[in-house]
């Protein structure tokens, strides 16, 4: 084979590899700059009891999940059974952030599909959502004992993600 043909073949293979990697990446998964940083603190009223509030400070010292959900969010229904199963095992408490939703809609949704949350807080204006860099609901954050975000799941939590990423990480963080 001539040097020229080798060159062309080499360039072709490089291009194929570039496209094979580039076109299979998911452009919706933007790496969050918040992973490895302290979870933005908040104090928000509870969904079930607006007179009471929850603050992130209460969770210091234990590992927990923050799941951003809404009654209008279609993919949230997809992940809901997974969260219900997780809640049943009690491996890690899941706290809900009811995002840009109406209270009655959120409550009705939980009544209809089950409530996997230790508790849910409401963020009707989506302000805390902005602090957490939420752009596609559902999103789930794994927060460690020191209050640092260690993992962010964009989009629904699937059984694979739970088994392969979230639960092993929670186990490791609990031992830290």
């Amino acid at each position: 084979m001539s040097a020229r043909a080798l060159w062309v073949l080499g360039i072709f293979i490089a291009l194929v590899m570039l496209l094979a990697v580039g076109l299979t990446l998911n452009p919706r998964e933007v790496p969050s700059p918040l992973v490895g940083k302290a979870a933005p603190p908040f104090e928000l009223p509870l969904l079930r009891d607006p007179d009471k509030t929850f603050t992130t400070k209460e969770r210091l010292g234990s590992v927990w999940l923050l799941n951003v959900w809404a009654s209008w969010c279609v993919s949230c229904r997809e992940e809901h059974p997974v969260l219900l199963e997780l809640a049943k095992t009690g491996a890690v408490p899941v706290y809900g952030l009811n995002y840009k939703d109406r209270r009655e809609d959120g409550l009705r949704w939980l009544a209809a599909y089950g409530d996997p949350y230790h508790l849910s807080v409401v963020d009707p204006q989506g302000r805390i959502g902005i602090d957490y860099g939420v752009y596609g609901v559902p999103e789930t954050y794994v927060i460690d004992k020191r209050g640092v975000i260690r993992y962010k799941q964009i989009g629904p939590v699937t059984r694979e993600v739970l088994a392969q990423k979230i639960l092993p990480l929670v186990g490791q963080l609990s031992r830290e």
Binding site: P27, R28, V30, P31, S32, P33, L34, K100, Q125, G126, G129, I130, D131, Y132, G133, Y135, G136
Partner: protein, 146 residues
Amino acid sequence: MNRLFWVLLVVPFLAGRGLADNQPDLDQRVAAIAAELRCLVCQNQSIAESNADLAVDLRRQIREQLKEGRSERDVLDFMVQRYGDFVLYRPPLKASTFLLWGGPFLLLVLGIFLLARKIRSVRRPAPQLSEAERARAAALLGTGKE
């Protein structure tokens, strides 16, 4: 009665003028920042162009922060802290974005190099054949001896 009518007619315009004095300036600043930010929900639009819920919220956020007297730089930093460099249409130059900024220039240099090589090879004078080679070529081509 008549006078009251005129007063009522004119007052809204005066009020409007008062507002107009500082609004357009703020609007322009909000729009300028919004045009620099990528909407993460509909990724091929800027926050200024998009009507997605999140874009509307972020435009409101920009407006509030500017009203509070923060600078353009502060607002952009606020967004980057939450959504990463990806939200900026003009991300800063660092190791992870080097290929993005430098890539076109690398390709340009590569192109110039290849072009120069090509031009040089075209210009190179045809090789001179020795007497023996000439004879062999003639024999192979069957044109006989000169």
